[in-house]
Subunit: 244 residues, 2 copies
């Protein structure tokens, strides 16, 4: 099967994704936050592009059973319930709630996925669950990295490389890789023993550390710590039971 | 000094390039072709975005001392004098001519460079000359890879990594790298012994091989074989004497 990785979502054409398994990756922090939120009992996460859409969506689905959440420049949006730090998404706060989430990069990528197959939210915290789900699907794979403002970011590409590594070694798949997927694999294999440090030293890792979210960076690099499978269906991301 | 690499030109903001030394890289094949053309005695290369602009430019500068050249999908544009294969640019054909060049990816990137410092065309065939010129300039560096249709391409990023490697080792510069520059350096260092093979096996290398330009791919990977310094000034790329 083919495995294509895209380091930024901008130039990806919707028609190129048709029928493929899709993995959406925004390690710092949307993907990680989605894993944490669903693991803490949130009913669903609804990704939207803009803060205004989040407010409208909340009004539509009902204020009492929903929270509006998200960030710009890493900081919680004014008057929103939560920001984009995984640690905010505790069971007390999010259980049985629908989380309407808007982030600078990650949540925008979901708009690309109209005619594709299964759409999985991938992060380092759930990487093995994602790999086994991709393998089960037996379809061509597209990995969409969120990047940062349409620029490459090291943590998303390294996570994509980690997924490819697991597909090759744990799942024993034979893959045809595009250039970016080969590079991602090299990036992961060259840094697999220092994943946390590599991500913390990346551009966005350094920025989050500087504005007080160093702990988020460390937990986002913790492989298989939250082994859930968030799947997008009908514009909502919900948990799928993982068969381990 | 800072050394930032951009894997694709799309998201690069003009203002982010102000005052910096710029290296434009499109290994397959615009950068390589520009080196070959100027080395064969062409007076200048004028990069333009679209075939229509090329025809207009030729009318403006005079038909008798100019050639219109370029490709789409790797193939010479109909009614143009030359395509984009370095081997077409022989002394007999191009000496003392102005080459108006339009290619799918490479020549479009030059539009980004309005307020920057010196603008160098970089390829593997002139990499050491580029490194020594960048070092002499002593300014922050931006490396703009052309990529392929706004997607990452391995040959441009590996060339950017080779430049950074040379700046660090041959030129003994101390550099602060962005994420993409770090990755490019890793990519180069992991493949430096098999540069030709890595590029030939990349997406665009395979495509060019398939349509009969395998020789172009091999010569584009031949380090320091055409040690010229093409510099953009007043919308024309001309040769600068290299001090070796």
């Amino acid at each position: 099967m083919h495995a294509d990785l895209f380091m930024v979502p901008g130039p990806v054409q919707e028609k190129g994704l048709a029928g493929k398994t899709l993995v959406m990756i925004d390690v710092l922090r949307a993907s990680t936050t989605i894993c944490y939120a669903l693991n803490a009992g949130a009913k669903s996460v609804i990704p939207v592009s803009e803060p205004g859409e989040a407010t409208e969506m909340r009004a539509k689905i009902g204020v009492e059973n929903s929270l509006i959440c998200g960030e710009r420049d890493g900081i919680k949006i004014e008057n929103f319930d939560l920001g984009n730090s995984p640690l905010e998404y505790t069971r007390e706060i999010v259980a049985d709630k629908n989380i309407v989430l808007t982030t600078s990069n990650g949540t925008r990528t979901y708009g690309k996925a109209k005619n594709s197959g299964v759409i999985i939210t991938g992060a380092i915290v759930n990487i093995s669950a994602v790999a086994s789900r991709v393998a089960r699907e037996q379809k061509d794979l597209a990995i969409l990295c969120a990047g940062h403002m349409e620029h490459f970011s090291i943590e998303d590409t390294i996570c994509g490389g980690m997924l490819i590594h697991k597909l090759l070694t744990d799942e024993k798949l034979i893959l045809e890789l595009n250039d970016a997927a080969s590079l991602a694999l090299l990036l992961y294999r060259s840094n697999s023993r220092a994943l946390k440090e590599t991500i913390a030293q990346g551009e966005h890792g350094r920025y989050l550390g500087k504005i007080g979210f160093g702990e988020d960076v460390a937990l986002a690099a913790n492989a298989d710590s939250i082994p859930v499978l968030p799947i997008l269906q009908d514009s909502r991301i919900k948990l799928e039971e993982v068969e381990l």
